[in-house]
Symmetry: C2
Subunit: 293 residues, 2 copies
């Protein structure tokens, strides 16, 4: 029996609908809408596409969004100034710096400039520390990891006591997902490029989160029968049959994994829509804190 | 063949000797010694003993230490004021709040008061976030976890690619040890009270760090032959044969584990001396940053 598909689109739509109603409420009470400020540096087409998708989602849900698009040759000071201007702007409640930044920009220094109260991406070290620590709560939980947790929740399976394997340990996905799964009482293993016998390690897992950025890297015969598979990857592969000449695939080989897993997400249409939704949700939260305070 | 004992005492002595020389250097150059300020609330005998041991180690290595000992009935404001006074005192470079605090005190709020530049225990959420994140470094690495990593290094085994299991996920030991092992390229599994089949999980590990706070909980037949076993526990057991009426044991059943492991630490004499040493090391680091700036 093939896996049940965890479709992120209706989940995202449902939550975005709730956000839209909450935004209307907030606007009725305070006269103001939540505002997202985006900083984009350079002209990477994928980054530009992500920014467009985020701004469109803001429009649909009634959030105000604006973007500062800086040339690739901008200086460190110019990028940091763009962040500081949003920090100082009371109509902006959340700030998103689209990553990656050009190589000559110190990413850490830019992200450190984001006011903790406006860190709707939830990637400030302070937020990550609190995310992992018992008895602490971050100001915002990071967008993609929160989306991953939401999709796992959609299966209706209790996470507590399950074995989870997270493949990849990036600051914005792998690491925070591992911390969130541990806080939800899963037994979590963090895997990465230096992991020996990755297939054997994945085979022991009831939950697999693949966030490694390599097309179709995780094979079906690595998956434990019945496991929950969340695919965070989004890799373009050449595809002459497609109009664009390429198609997007995840980090998991979908067909072979689908035959074994209990639940699996699709790429596109899985984690992606959830990431945007969680960004909207955090921006709404930031605006409420500011406008209802 | 029984395991090689990783003896923390000579390692601690060696490092404390290096610290002593560095303190003399600093004193010669700047005229000042590193200063540690300890806040102790209440009269828990174990806490009082730990504080005495830390102050004695400061004396031996030439660091200045002082303690503010507050009554158990102190208010939140009084405890926080003690921390703030040390923050403002230029002769104090490191601040240690001895945990646990009495139940009526909000521990998080007290710890948040510690200036990041003086957080020599390395337990600020900002430090923990940076500890886990790639490309980031904490202001200070937490004392006990750094001691654990030092003892693993003493074995001479390369950590990269090894499977590590951390039992316990406390903010001050389990969680930061797991983050440090992952940064050192081990494949890390975080286990805790909800973990199913803990013996089977531990049996797969090349490195076992036990930080669960239960006397002799981890048994020898859980250990993979040849594994490195680091025992962070320190539990008192009644012992009529001892003069004091009790003895300290770790979280690992030493005799049975020693017969299987490749390397193992003892309790006492393993991680304990390293924790104090790392606290001295961090206080020296803080003093250098302040005095040599």
């Amino acid at each position: 029996m093939p896996a049940k598909i965890i479709d992120g689109r209706p989940v995202a739509q449902r939550i975005q609908g709730e956000i839209k109603r909450a935004v209307e409420d907030l606007r009725a009470k305070s006269g103001a809408a939540p505002g997202l400020g985006v900083v984009l540096v350079g002209d990477d087409p994928a980054s530009a596409m992500y920014v467009r998708m985020k701004r469109r989602a803001c429009d649909r849900a009634g959030l105000r969004s604006e973007a500062r698009i800086l040339p690739a040759a901008s200086t460190q000071a110019e990028v940091e100034d763009a962040v500081r201007a949003y920090n100082a702007d009371p109509s902006i409640h959340g700030i998103l710096v689209q990553l990656p930044l050009p190589d000559h920009i110190n990413e850490e220094a830019v992200l450190n400039e984001i006011s903790l109260a406006k860190d709707v991406d939830g990637i400030h070290p302070m937020n990550l520390g609190r995310l992992g620590m018992r008895g602490r709560e971050p100001t915002f939980t990071p967008a993609t990891p929160t989306g991953v947790m939401q999709l796992i929740a959609e299966t209706g399976e209790a996470i507590e006591g399950l074995r989870a394997v997270v493949i990849g340990r990036s600051n914005i996905v792998g690491l925070p997902v591992a911390l969130m799964l541990a806080k939800a009482n899963a037994t979590v293993t963090i895997c990465h490029s230096r992991t020996r016998d990755l297939p054997g390690t994945v085979r022991a897992a009831d939950i697999v989160v693949a966030a490694v950025g390599r097309a179709e890297y995780v094979k079906g015969d690595w998956i434990k029968p019945g496991a929950i598979v969340i695919d965070v990857g989004s890799n373009s592969l050449p595809d002459p049959d497609s109009e664009k000449g390429y198609r997007y695939v995840g980090d998991v080989e979908f067909e072979s994994a689908c035959a074994v897993a209990g639940y699996i997400t699709k790429v596109p249409g899985g984690v992606g829509p959830m990431t945007i939704t969680m960004l909207l949700s955090n921006t709404l939260k930031a605006a409420r804190r500011s406008l209802e305070a």
